[in-house]
């Protein structure tokens, strides 16, 4: 009998946990910035169609840049990322892509996020093949070291210009 009661307490405790979790997710939604795609994200990306794509980047910088090769630096995270951003304009142009908008995040007018991003950029690629070609280019890989040094994490949102009514 006592065992049965303990079981009941555990189950009702679990129910409470699940229900309260569930009602929480109706109004808030969690997100995680990351530095690089995970293998599933890479595979899904590679399998997509070959129409033009837009990549929306929401960026969070490190306070101080940290290079993966351990080199000494006095750069801030933002300064290191700016080196990457400047060099990447050329890498984009080489595959027929371009940065169409970029800037500082000032604030949120609608909604709430726990930790606001620092900066924002949108690039347009003629196809995902073009983006893959850029990412494989040794010159890009060299520039990307500055990105990894400066970036705490980001969301990278793939957008299709098809299918939105305006």
């Amino acid at each position: 009998m006592k065992k049965y009661l303990i079981g009941l307490v555990i189950i009702s405790g679990l129910m409470f946990f699940l229900i309260s979790n569930d009602s929480d997710s109706n109004e808030s939604n969690s997100y995680k910035n990351a530095l690089r795609p995970n293998p599933i994200q890479l595979a899904e990306f590679a399998l997509g169609d070959d129409d033009p794509i837009l990549m929306v980047n929401l960026l969070k910088f490190k306070d101080k840049a940290e290079y993966e090769d351990g080199r000494a630096t006095n750069l801030t995270g933002r300064e290191a990322y700016e080196i990457y951003a400047t060099e990447t304009r050329e890498h984009l142009a080489n595959v027929g892509a371009e940065l169409i908008l970029g800037g500082e995040v000032n604030g949120l007018l609608l909604g709430e996020v726990e930790e606001l991003w620092d900066a924002f950029g949108v690039a347009r690629y003629p196809s995902r093949k073009a983006m893959i070609a850029m990412a494989r280019n040794p010159a890009y890989i060299e520039s990307e070291k500055h990105r990894a040094a400066g970036l705490a994490g980001q969301l990278n949102i793939e957008v299709s210009e098809q299918g939105f009514g305006f």
């Binding site: 939604n29 910035n33 949120l108 007018l109 726990e114 299918g163």
Partner: protein, 137 residues
């Protein structure tokens, strides 16, 4: 980290928006989540999906933007996240440019805009609206 989509700003967000620099150009990044079925605040019958109702707003807002010197830079459907994780991914993205915060306020106060906004409210479950100061990245 948590993110909450809203349809209307908090009072403090609204206040903050009209303090400080209201004269320089801004871009507004909209990350949109639609309702499955549109629901109009006046209770009218509709068969529209949330996305269809919002698209009516989207088409009309192009001319409201033009009136105050703003424009839609682009709008599109979100396919997936390439980097990072979001529990409940947004459906669409739209970016508008305004000559200033003042111009945006002027649009929001225009009765014609407010008429179009009924479709936005009917279709939208919630959104993030992120203010960007354009510049070199």
């Amino acid at each position: 980290m948590k993110v909450k989509n809203h349809s209307h700003p908090h009072k403090t967000q609204m206040d903050g928006f009209f303090e400080g620099d209201t004269e320089t150009p801004i871009a507004m990044l909209n990350l949109l989540k639609f309702k499955e079925k549109a629901e109009y605040e006046d209770g009218r019958e509709t068969d529209l999906t949330g996305k269809e109702a919002y698209s009516i707003y989207g088409q009309e807002v192009v001319k409201h933007l033009a009136k105050v010197g703003g424009k839609l830079v682009f709008g599109g459907r979100i396919s997936r996240l390439m980097i990072g994780e979001v529990e409940d991914l947004w459906d669409s993205v739209a970016i508008a440019q305004y000559p200033s915060r003042k111009a945006m306020l002027e649009m929001l106060m225009d009765p014609d805009y407010q008429k179009s906004e009924e479709h936005r409210a009917a279709g939208l479950e919630g959104q993030l609206n992120i203010e960007i100061k354009e510049g070199d990245l």
